[in-house]
Amino acid sequence: MNSVQIITDALSLGGIYALTALGIGLVFSVLRLANFAHAELVTVAGYALLIGVGLPLPLVLFMAAAASVLVAMATERLAFRPLRHVDQTTMLVSSFAVSILIQNIFVFFSGSRAKGVDILPALARQVSVLGADVSMVKLTTIAVCGATLVGLISFLRFTRLGLEMRAASQDFSMARNLGVRADRVILIAFALSGILAAVVGVLFVAEVGFVQPRLGLQLVIISFVGTVIGGLGNLTGAMVGGFLIGFIATLLQTFLPLELREFREAFLFGIVILILLVRPHGLFPARHLKERV
């Protein structure tokens, strides 16, 4: 594997983790909830692709995005909003419950086995970049992740809602004191996390070519670690943490001796522990982690 391929792999994997970490980070920043049901938002997008096989691609992509956003907003409204004023641990337990419930709904309707989904066969081919063979799906992943990140950053930086969300993420009760509507900001955070999960779900399924009920689980666990490394409650940190995890994972995959590669994640989490020992609050600790709503 040459350096172009390593960089491509690292950027595409890092981009996936960064978008997932941002989705988790957006909700955490306004609700102080590590939403483990984010995994199922990724999976929902994958199953929407499965249902949409044979339909025009734009319609299928819209279905995937709509499914993730609707499920995200529904979980906020039904599973988290009623619990906002009780102990945070209760919301965390609720997020596990939602996660397992949705997984079982997939199993009930579609079975537990993986189902093949080939939404974009054209992406399977290899192209030459600076003399190296690189898969189109990885280049597409990098481009889409980059565009999504630019879109998200622009939304947060240049729009009224984005400014409200940034303010609320730093001090929610002060933002409410200025008149920011808690329900609206939290619902938008969930909707945005749904959009990010849908992008990740589509890109991930395009890469692996199948869906299964626990599709998003591993992604979210690793991305959550990225969120922690970046600094919980800091969106820039979540993005950097996601990319960092992607880079470390790719480098381990490339440079670990063959007999050790199956233990890649053990090495990855070992490095994570080392980082957290040196920077226990992450690389970019949130300066003002105030109380949630």
Partner: protein, 238 residues
């Protein structure tokens, strides 16, 4: 126009934080809310600003009950507060801190930036506009907090210990500023403050709370002479 609390009671579990307090803040006046630590002053401001719903009693604006309104309704309707700890959004710029309040009030990002510039000029902070809030010194931080409150175009401005941590010169400047705010914005200002020199300089009326209940209401010179006030607030034995 007046903001008022009518026979308000607040309890936290078995503890009575505020007991049967009635308070009136008229638009255009500066009212001092004073009392020893733990007397219930901040709780009363929480009630007046919609952050704490009283167990009994009412909150009214111009005689209309607003007790059942959600917290975000109050700043949108001219009841604005500042906190003892300023609580700026430390990762945002000075201008963005103010723009956040303005956009909630309906301004576009472009018009919010222009209006924030006007307010920063008013507070003498124009050159700090693009500074990240975490880089401000303490005095400027407090001024930005006041600018952010003014962005909401208050009819009633509730200030919780605005002079906390300030030196004598800064307190004098703050007094001038609060007088100017009352004049230029025409709002009623309620000031919780332990600095009696500032309170005397600012306030036409004082409302004294001790152990959650009203001890006295009157002009500062009348309040200072009350033995009960001196005993409760200053620990004197009269």
């Amino acid at each position: 126009m007046a903001l008022s609390a009518q026979s308000v009671n607040v309890r936290f579990g078995g503890v009575r934080a505020v007991t049967d307090v009635s308070l009136r803040l008229d638009q255009g006046e500066i009212l001092g809310l004073v009392g020893p630590n733990g007397a219930g002053k901040t709780t009363l401001v929480n009630v007046l600003s919609g952050f704490q719903r009283p167990a009994e009693g009412d909150v009214q604006i111009d005689g209309q009950s607003v007790r059942a309104q959600p917290p975000h309704w109050f700043p949108a309707n001219g009841v604005v507060r500042t906190f003892q700890s300023v609580r700026l959004f430390m990762g945002l710029t000075v201008s963005e801190n103010i723009e956040a309040a303005l956009t909630v009030a309906g301004y576009s990002r472009r018009s919010a930036r222009a209006k924030a510039g006007d307010l920063l000029d008013y507070l003498g902070l124009a050159e700090r506009r693009d500074t990240i809030a975490s880089a401000l010194n303490y005095s400027d931080e407090r001024r930005v907090g006041i600018a952010r409150a003014l962005a909401l175009n208050p009819r009633f401005l509730l200030m919780d210990e605005p002079a906390a941590g300030m030196n004598a010169a800064e307190v004098d400047e703050l007094g001038v500023l609060i007088h100017a705010i009352r004049k230029d914005f025409g709002c009623g200002v309620l000031v919780i403050e332990h600095n009696m020199r500032l309170i005397s300089d600012l306030c036409e009326r004082l409302h004294v709370i001790v152990q959650g209940a009203t001890l006295a209401v009157g002009a500062p010179e009348d309040i200072w002479g009350l033995p009960e006030f001196r005993s409760a607030y200053l620990g004197a034995t009269s």
